[in-house]
Symmetry: C2
Subunit: 144 residues, 2 copies
Amino acid sequence: MPWEKEEKIFEEYLRTKNLKHSEQRKEILYIFLNIDKHLTANELYRTVQRKYPTVGYATIYRTLKLLCECGLCRELKLEDGTTRYEHLYGHQHHDHLICTKCGRFIEVVDPEIERLQEKLVKQHGFYPERHRMELYGVCKRCKK
Amino acid sequence: MPWEKEEKIFEEYLRTKNLKHSEQRKEILYIFLNIDKHLTANELYRTVQRKYPTVGYATIYRTLKLLCECGLCRELKLEDGTTRYEHLYGHQHHDHLICTKCGRFIEVVDPEIERLQEKLVKQHGFYPERHRMELYGVCKRCKK
DNA sequence: TATGATTTTGAAAATCACTATCAAGATAGC
DNA sequence: GCTATCTTGATAGTGATTTTCAAAATCATA
């Protein structure tokens, strides 16, 4: 049972909201979890379509929204205007290092940066809530 | 002559690209520079319209693109999906602290964070190019 | 300061990513 | 199984941005 915990979280969320555990929802979660990549709604749509050719775009978006609500997924609005979705469960807070050539994503955390970010926010009299940080560069493979 | 330098930069950019220095372009730059705020295309459009009621949306977008190209303006794609534009000339690199209640923007820089970001990128074998960091919180005025 | 090649304009249509609508179908408590 | 309720896919509708295009403006040259 590879995604037992995630499936349980989703089922539980649907139950508490009086929503139904449809075939499509099951399948979309499963396919989403099996792709270890930050994907766009369209990429997920095309992948799901291979198995369920009649699935609609709206169902993909609706299910992604549910997955975000129950904490299995995070939506990322990137600099270039695209929106990508990443697995959230089991991943602690992190930021991203992105290769500007090949688009590779690396999850990074630096506790010292986190600490300084919080300090900076407080220095300006703000109550800190969250942040986002994206670092862009050229990765080893693309550099040479 | 309040925006002499900026106007010169724009004129020079247009000249090198064999583009024309139209009334609309002059006026949009002038109005943009006089609003000291991170504004949306629509906000700029409405402000320009008060003086030039026939100006089209497309001209606003086309001119903003030119201003970004010549380094007078920066486009910010925010977390909530909106796009805002800020003055760039004369402002050194900075990140943003944004109030989640009133939307207030504060420009911030922390040299120590900058240093650690670069270090982090290099640790992963990347050649650092740029980054973006947005800090979200509740400002003093909105907190009470 | 007229000419004419080239660019720019505003209006409207097109595009893009995403959301809402709705009738038909699926789910699940009884 | 029945039935209330939710979900679905298709389609239309958004809202922001871009493209298209014919008319108007710019500007180097005559």
